[in-house]
């Protein structure tokens, strides 16, 4: 997100001699047998067998809530299984805490990184390492040297002296990997590592994973992106409702086959839609300038409009001002100049509440910091913005019956998998939390919807469902502003596409004139149009 996006930089510098490749014989390093893990009301893992070989990249695939994260938390010592056994190099092991797992050579990179922002990479890595004695200066030098060596060996291109807050999301993730390697991990667990990355960063990460495997590390890789899974993994295990459906060789399967195994039915990987019928402009943005969190100017003279009944997609490499634009419109960040209007009403620098009253709903890109109250129940989370309105409040009193009733309905129609609407929302699986946010925002029946990374972390069938919903809302006359770093998603949903580069809108085009190559070029800053022309092109939809 920060600084210049690195495109494939690390991977290219790295040359692996083919002959260093280990014989990837079927030497089993780890085995999980009959793992059962129950939570109140759900069996998250129901007799799972899982096997990992030395030097293997083994993907875990499954619907949202299928039990992937739970299985890996069991492996990493975060949960004790109710039944089942884990064998490492043929010997049964008992993990009580993550510390045990680390000591046995396991490493896990969670989806939300656990790094201290103001510390350097090296400080973060040695944090909590050797507690009895203070690290001496000489020690620290040795640490730096070792980190540098590890970073070079696995092509992570991380400087141990860099402070974490200056790093992009992709780099922070590589710091987590480096941390695991530093602690001597032989087995790396990556839980949806690519969900938060730009396609370029994701490609780079996949390359690193390949390097790791060639160097003899074993990797468990969780992802919802079938193409990634197919391209990087040796074997794929599919989970459904906590059970193993199949384990297949990546070379002997395809996207449709995998999707069918995950969901249990055919999945349309493409959603069709009719041409848009745009009406009056709902959201108008003019000459917008704003700063980012570090008070550096990030948005320059941004202007566009979104009409009722159309989807405007904002394409761009992450970190080119999309987050700031999203926040300014939603009332979460101040604009320095320019104007935002919704339905003719000036809402520049209005509060989130005022913007909401004008008919804006917002699916935030940063779902944990913005979208979910983890210790509130699902029912409470589903009425966050509308708590004070009828029917959820009547004559000044909360109407729990109405709150529960709407929750039951939304959970059902959006297929949020949970044993109860009274469960704390933080216990939902990643994808199901996202579905909950979508349900809440769409239920507000907004005039204008900001959908930022709406399908991040969702499985294929949930993506299909959400895409259909967004198109249905568009057809019902809603204006939708879509932010997505997935070009494919932009192309599937948008009626018009605006490209952002370095805080400016460098071009707007209709979907039938969109050309992937040209888009890619514009996203990389290859071609820019002066802003006055953009507004005109934008108007002639």
């Amino acid at each position: 997100m920060r600084g210049v996006p690195i495109i494939g930089g690390a991977a290219k510098k790295c040359f692996l001699k083919k002959d260093t490749k280990l014989s990837q014989a079927s030497e089993t390093i780890l085995e999980m047998r009959g793992i059962v893990k129950k939570f109140p009301g759900v069996i998250a893992n129901d007799g799972v067998d899982f096997e990992l070989r030395k030097g293997e990249i083994h993907a875990l695939l499954g619907e949202n809530g299928a039990g992937k994260t739970t299985l890996m938390n069991v492996l990493y010592g975060l949960y004790e299984p109710d039944e089942g056994q884990i064998l490492l190099n043929g010997k049964p092991i008992h993990l009580k805490t993550a510390r045990d797992a680390i000591a046995l050579g396991l490493g896990m990179v969670h989806q939300h990184f656990m790094l201290v922002q103001r510390f350097t990479v090296a400080e973060n890595i040695i944090l909590g390492q050797h507690s009895p004695r203070e690290p001496h200066i000489e020690d620290q030098k040795a640490v730096y040297a070792r980190l540098k060596k590890l970073s070079d060996r696995y092509c992570l291109s991380i400087h141990p002296e860099a402070e974490v807050w200056t790093l992009s999301v992709g780099e922070q993730q590589r710091v987590e990997i480096l941390k695991a390697l530093y602690r001597g991990a032989e087995i790396l667990i990556l839980d949806e590592p690519t969900a938060v990355l730009t396609p370029q960063e994701a490609e780079q990460l996949l390359e690193i994973i390949r390097v790791l495997a060639k160097e003899g590390k074993s990797v468990v890789f969780i992802s919802h992106k079938l193409n990634e899974v197919l391209s990087v993994s040796d074997r794929i295990t599919v989970l459904r409702d906590g059970k193993v459906i199949d384990t297949v060789q990546a070379s002997q399967t395809g996207q449709e086959d995998l999707a069918r195994k995950m969901v249990g039915r055919e999945v349309l990987l493409q959603v069709s839609k009719n041409p848009a019928q745009p009406k009056e402009a709902v959201l108008v943005v003019e000459g917008l300038c704003a700063n980012d969190a570090r008070e550096l100017q990030t948005l320059y003279d941004v202007g566009f409009e979104v009409k009722a009944g159309e989807i405007l997609g904002i394409a761009g490499v992450a970190g080119n001002g999309q987050t700031e634009l999203e926040q300014v419109i939603a009332g979460l960040r101040k604009a320095n100049a320019g104007r935002v209007a919704i339905c003719g009403e000036d809402v520049t620098n209005a509060s989130p509440k005022e913007v909401g009253n004008c008919g804006l709903a917002h699916i935030p890109s940063d779902r944990y910091r913005m979208g979910v109250l983890s210790d509130f129940t699902i029912a409470e989370n589903l009425v966050l913005q509308r708590i004070g309105q009828k029917p959820f409040t009547r004559r000044g009193w909360l109407n729990w019956k109405a709150i529960r009733q709407q929750a039951e309905e939304l959970v059902k129609s959006f297929d949020v998998r949970t044993p109860s609407i009274e469960m704390a929302a933080g216990k939902l699986s990643g994808g199901n939390a996202q579905k909950m946010i979508l349900a809440r925002e769409l239920a507000r029946q907004p005039r204008i919807l900001i959908a930022a990374q709406p399908t991040r972390g969702l499985d294929v069938s949930a993506i299909e469902y959400v895409h259909r919903q967004l198109i249905a809302q568009r057809d019902a006359g809603e204006a939708i502003l879509l932010f997505s770093t997935e070009l494919q998603e932009i192309l599937t949903l948008s009626d018009r596409i605006a490209v952002m580069y370095e805080g400016r809108i460098v071009g707007v085009m209709d979907i039938d004139q969109a050309d992937i190559n040209e888009l890619g070029l514009m996203m990389a800053g290859g071609k820019g149009l002066p802003s006055c022309e953009i507004l005109e092109t934008g108007g002639a939809a």
């Binding site: 949960y79 979460l332 966050l384």
Partner: protein, 351 residues
């Protein structure tokens, strides 16, 4: 869910059982450690504890004493419960208590000509305003200047306490007196007593506020927003909650409660403005709110427990003859054990 580091599914005991069992267990452990302290002082622990129990609950008079102590603790802790639910750590209840006593006390000292019901109402309201004003200073500093409320409320405590001592020594000093105390309040400022006991209106007010705070937190949109801010302020802001307004609200509310407690204590017990009118109620109430799990009913139980402990320790000293310091130490050991066991149990349960 990935934040937990240890989980033991055998520990998924019914939540209710743990929340009652843990404090009881903690209390027992505290009593055992206390027993060793008593043995060290060459006294008989059983006898001492019997005196303690009798002192707190042994008869009508003792129970009355306990209730009278529990009143201010409960009242302050209910306010703090609301603030803590929003994760606003008001530790300035002590100072707000003093300011309440001061504002209410001025009414009691100078407006005695008013009809009694009006005088009492005015006195209580003035105390609430006093506590609110003092808390608002911290709220203003936080919302406008971004100053941490823990620091500001703590500092404001000292100012309030010293201000009271200065006034009692200076402008408000009893004419002709030489002690640093104000003139005695008129008899009419005594709060009405209930059912012919020594339990007064102040205790009743505290008890009545239990359901009020409960309803506020769980049955009104305002309470929902308070809890939302406490759960995660950035999400609350995204959801359209005016976070600053909530911060001001909970601080001012908790300040008002503490101020009310201040005048109730002064009007019923001390009947003068002076230093040392609190016995650390404002600080004990923090523990009461936390131990009561920031739940009004739990807070009620915790307030009674604390009051019983204070009264019991007193009679261990007065009746049984243990040194004051030992009685106080035992009290502290019990509180610590209860808090420690409770915190441990809660961590186990959360994971």
């Amino acid at each position: 869910m990935s934040k937990s580091t240890t989980t033991n599914q055998e520990r998924h005991l019914p939540q209710a059982l743990v929340s009652i069992g843990a404090p009881v267990l903690g209390c027992l452990i505290g009593l055992i450690i206390g027993a060793f302290l008593i043995l060290l002082a060459k006294a008989d622990p059983i006898g001492a504890y019997q005196t303690m129990l009798k002192g707190a609950f042994g008869g009508e008079r003792q129970i009355t004493e306990t209730l009278l102590k529990a009143g201010p603790l409960l009242l302050i802790a209910l306010g703090l419960t609301t603030a803590f639910r929003a994760k606003i750590w008001n530790i300035g209840a002590e100072g707000q208590y003093y300011m309440g006593a001061l504002f209410g006390g001025l009414v009691a000292l100078y407006l005695t000509d008013l009809p009694r019901p009006l005088l009492l109402t005015l006195m209580l309201l003035a105390a609430i305003v006093g506590g609110m004003v003092w808390a608002y200073v911290a709220a203003f500093l936080k919302v406008r200047m971004g100053m941490n409320e823990i620091i500001s409320t703590l500092m404001l405590n000292y100012i309030a306490i010293l201000l009271m001592e200065y006034l009692a020594r200076g402008p408000l000093q009893e004419p002709g007196g030489y002690l640093p105390v104000s003139a005695q309040f008129d008899k009419v400022t005594k709060l009405p007593l209930l059912f012919g006991t020594r339990v007064h209106l102040g205790v009743l007010i505290a008890v009545l506020l239990v359901p009020v705070i409960y309803t506020l937190l769980w049955s009104t949109p305002l309470g929902f927003r308070v809890r939302a801010v406490g759960s995660r302020a950035s999400v609350a802001r995204y959801a359209g909650v005016n976070v600053e307004k909530i911060i001001v609200f909970v601080l001012v509310l908790s300040g008002g409660f503490a101020g009310l407690a201040g005048i109730i204590e002064v009007a019923t017990l001390h009947t003068r403005l002076k230093g040392g009118i609190s016995q650390g109620y404002g600080f004990s109430a923090i523990l009461v709110a936390l131990l009561g799990r920031m739940n009004p009913i739990g807070v009620t139980v915790a307030a009674l427990f604390f009051a019983a402990l204070i009264i019991g320790a007193e009679s261990m000293h007065v009746v049984y003859g243990l040194p004051v310091s030992l009685a106080d130490a035992i009290q502290a050991v019990i509180v610590l054990s209860v808090l420690a066991v409770d915190a441990t149990a809660r961590r186990r349960m959360d994971s």
